[in-house]
Subunit: 81 residues, 2 copies
DNA sequence: GACTAATGTAATATATTTATCACATAATAT
DNA sequence: ATATTATGTGATAAATATATTACATTAGTC
């Protein structure tokens, strides 16, 4: 099963940004930011780009797509395949 | 104006893949692949990831988001802002 | 020229992201 | 304990990526 996790929370903490503040910077609703952070959906490339840039990172540093080897869904993370 | 261009065509040529073949590899319709290649829309992060991996590249190598400094639309490239 | 493969376009339908708004819980401070 | 701020959830609506199908055009070959 392929899943996505993000380092948004960690990076937000580093820059002392609240979800709301980051959402504003990126021009997105707080809910979208929240769901993004929890890996609950598969954002558009441009949104991912803006989030990464706002956190002084690259897309691949912030959004981590991985195959965990299992075949059963795990929690409420986004199921990509 | 922020726009996106891609190096898909160039990389496809390097690996001698047709749009159709790459679309199959990535599990997407040929039309989606075509529009993606021309930067006509803003793919999901996971799709961008799969395309990049299929072309042995990173997302940031394949999808190039840039601000060209102008304020008027140019051609039919995707207008991201 | 005709033939074929590859690329491009158009119309419509479906799926999923994203917005909006309202409320619930957690954490922290006073 | 009560404010206050941050985080989380639910329902519904809007926007847009993507699928599907069929046809048009270009490039290359015979």
């Amino acid at each position: 099963m392929i899943k996505m996790r993000t380092r948004i929370k960690e990076l937000r903490a580093r820059y002392e940004l609240t979800q709301d503040e980051l959402a504003d910077i990126v021009n997105v609703s707080r809910r979208t930011m929240l769901y993004l952070e929890k890996g609950k959906y598969n954002p558009s490339l441009f949104l991912a780009y803006k989030v990464a840039k706002s956190l002084h990172s690259t897309i691949e540093e912030v959004f981590i797509i991985e195959d965990d080897g299992t075949s059963s869904p795990d929690g409420d993370a986004l199921n990509l395949e």
